[in-house]
Symmetry: D2
Subunit: 254 residues, 4 copies
């Protein structure tokens, strides 16, 4: 099921006080959706407000991007929180993001979990369940962005939650459609041309392209790009341009 429209998303608003990560103004000219950190693994109320305002001005949709409460580890460590604790951590951050977005004249369109928490939602059904319960406790109609073929995606759809399925522009896929572990060689695509061309193929085919080149039919609503260093910003721009040139329009999900 190919598509004429696709969403392009990136993790933004991850700066903290005097500490800057990423080139958010540049990325907000590239993506159609911004996943905004909520102050636990990155971000702070000032950064959140500034990011929401700039996104609104540029017509970019915003999602709440909750993570583990681990500023030191930037949310990349698997922290020892129980599923019940994760429910509350997610609800808290989603609410904070909804409030600051509203204050900034914007609104949260979806929730995407960050870093180690996001990775757990792919492979651990109890964490996927916890995230869904945390979000539903705040607003059952709020969509969730999930890694394609993850537990979060299937469990969310089972429950009638609106799920946006996400693939990654710069990550290799195994033959069963999962992300190749970063510990393996070739896990990350570094060539912008290759990455962009593969994204166009995947969106056109409505399929994940594995390392071997096989195509696994998969629902694809959004493509994740990165913006934390100059190279990744260039890749993201390249992906956007390639999609546009292929006649695929960038559009936020609703």
């Amino acid at each position: 099921m190919s598509s004429d429209f696709i969403d392009l998303n990136a993790d933004l608003g991850e700066s903290f006080g005097a500490y800057t990560i990423g080139d958010d103004p540049a990325m907000l000219d590239i993506v159609s959706s911004a996943n905004v950190a909520c102050g636990f693994h990155g971000g702070d109320p000032e950064v959140m407000n500034a990011t929401f305002r700039l996104a609104r001005e540029k017509g970019v949709a915003v999602g709440a991007h909750p993570g583990f409460p681990d500023l030191w580890g930037f949310g990349r460590r698997v922290m020892p929180y129980s599923p019940a604790e994760i429910e509350r951590i997610v609800a808290y951050q989603v609410g904070a993001a909804m409030a600051v977005a509203s204050y900034a004249g914007h609104r949260i369109s979806y929730v995407k979990t960050h870093g180690a928490l996001g990775n757990l939602t792919e492979r651990d059904p109890t964490v996927a369940d916890a995230v869904l319960k945390g979000v539903a406790g705040v607003d059952p109609s709020l969509p969730v962005m999930a890694i394609a073929r993850s537990h979060l995606e299937s469990l969310g759809r089972e429950r009638g939650v609106t799920v946006f399925s996400e693939i990654f522009a710069d990550r290799a896929y195994t033959e069963d459609g999962h992300l190749v572990s970063r510990k393996e060689a070739g896990a990350v695509l570094h060539d912008a041309d290759d990455a962009a061309a593969r994204v166009v193929r995947m969106v056109r085919a409505g399929a994940i392209e594995t390392r071997s080149g096989a195509l696994l039919p998969t629902r694809i609503d959004t493509i994740c790009v990165h913006g934390d260093n100059p190279t990744s910003v260039a890749v993201a721009r390249h992906v956007r341009d390639a999609l546009t040139q292929a006649g695929i329009t960038l559009r936020a999900l609703t």
Copy 2:
């Protein structure tokens, strides 16, 4: 303007992880409204959830109780945040509280600022303005609980915000109706009988009773009691009983 009904409120949900402050279960049998800390000066997502659930079970209304981001100082230090920063700090915490309350099956009825931030709203109109803007940015219909005769109260009413006017059961009042500074002798009433009798007189008279015994007609919607030590819990219970015996019914504000 005397009243047959009055609200009784206390700061609750101020524990943090293994650190417990106050006897929340006891206080939730006494008050009609609980001001619940939002994780910046006290409280955490687990404590917030537990407090909201218990309040709901006991039929106690809940308010968001934002403070300065100062766990070490328990929100009692005047932190150097600009009015614009205070707007965002308040919006963030109010949203987090709304979300966790919703998750817990309850809902936030009002916002009351904590500690040093609350004190600033009494005497500093720029802080009062910032708090109102932070709350309005989240939900313009959300009521604000304000110290009687404070800048927050007058500014809020001017703007059409629903303001609940609050007096303190255990604090002495100056001749112009403000709180006697804690640095002065007699600022805090320690005798439970005296405090309870004075509260009944004030509610009946619709007036603040000053140190000299003068009565200043003042709108009184709610009475603040404390619950952070066994003595204060006893005073709170005494105040509740005295009001009930005087035919004044405790009722949360709406």
Copy 3:
């Protein structure tokens, strides 16, 4: 190898700002050594200073008590830090404690790891190694307090570190001399008389007494008691009195 002298230690200085845990003044009249939290899982520079000063006045020795950087979890969660990170976390906290102790007119006599970090040193040799490297990096002559029969104890002795071997007054022991898991029934001794009598038997015998009553000859330098609630303070006092009545003198380790 029975002893005429024994050390009695407890975790103290675990309060944080307005949050109080334990009755430190009472405990400092009972123990001969205080393990003082260093600000990562509990404690803060004010609490550390006050605890060191009071300990000095009462003639109680003090140890640095580093834990995981997890105030919310009070150091009881196994946090995902690598051995190399643990080395630095330990060094940092030990140095902070040495400095504040010096400022307070006291001096750090030993290091004892807290909570989840302490438990890992019993069973995980890589963590035991990391703790030893962290301490040695600061001061190779600084003694380490270790759970009797732990990896930390054996590894420390192998390396020529002064190790103080510790048993617990209120914990049951397996037949091979390890702590019975708290998940099992009977893991914690709640009867003060039983606990005190068992401590006297163990110190006299120079042996750990297992659940079955077997005695495993074990070096015992110090006994850990708790002070975080009124019951545990009573148990601690009971243990102290029983030891004294048995002719065993309490004395800090040197």
Copy 4:
């Protein structure tokens, strides 16, 4: 009193987890002394360790650089801590830095306060006194780096503390030898040539050069340069080269 030797210092080790500030490897090739953040306003045990190791390898001296506990504000906010609290905050951080430096095979040569805390030591004698007491409590022989003509400098010398007097390469001076407020135009010198030439004149003359070009004889032990952005690194390199070309040798203080 001109000099053939001078120290060049910069604030380094201010990164935190995934958040990087400054180009520390480049700066450690320029300066002779590095003021290393201690984890309260910036830095963490990993960053401290890495910075101390790299400084040792490059032969750069290191100082403890304590600041207010305000990671969000990067230590630039004047936080409401009492002088007594500042004593403990300073002692804690100095000890942590000493320990991690030792662990990394280096040693702390001096203490320099950061940001808002540093600015207070210039103009507020009670804060200068608190900093001196905090340092002396840890090690009375530890030198203090102080802004030339500050209260910290004069009070430290009065007490027999070794004080290193510091001027700033890129800051304008008032006619009485104090830093021009950043709120005034011309407070910061942006031209690298001008800054470097002025530094050489000041070191040769043993005098501060004011905005009007007047020379105020002043003890100058060290020159502060910055490294938090590419421009400031270029200025720092320029200052170093100009000094070297003028026959003034860079040398850490002892």
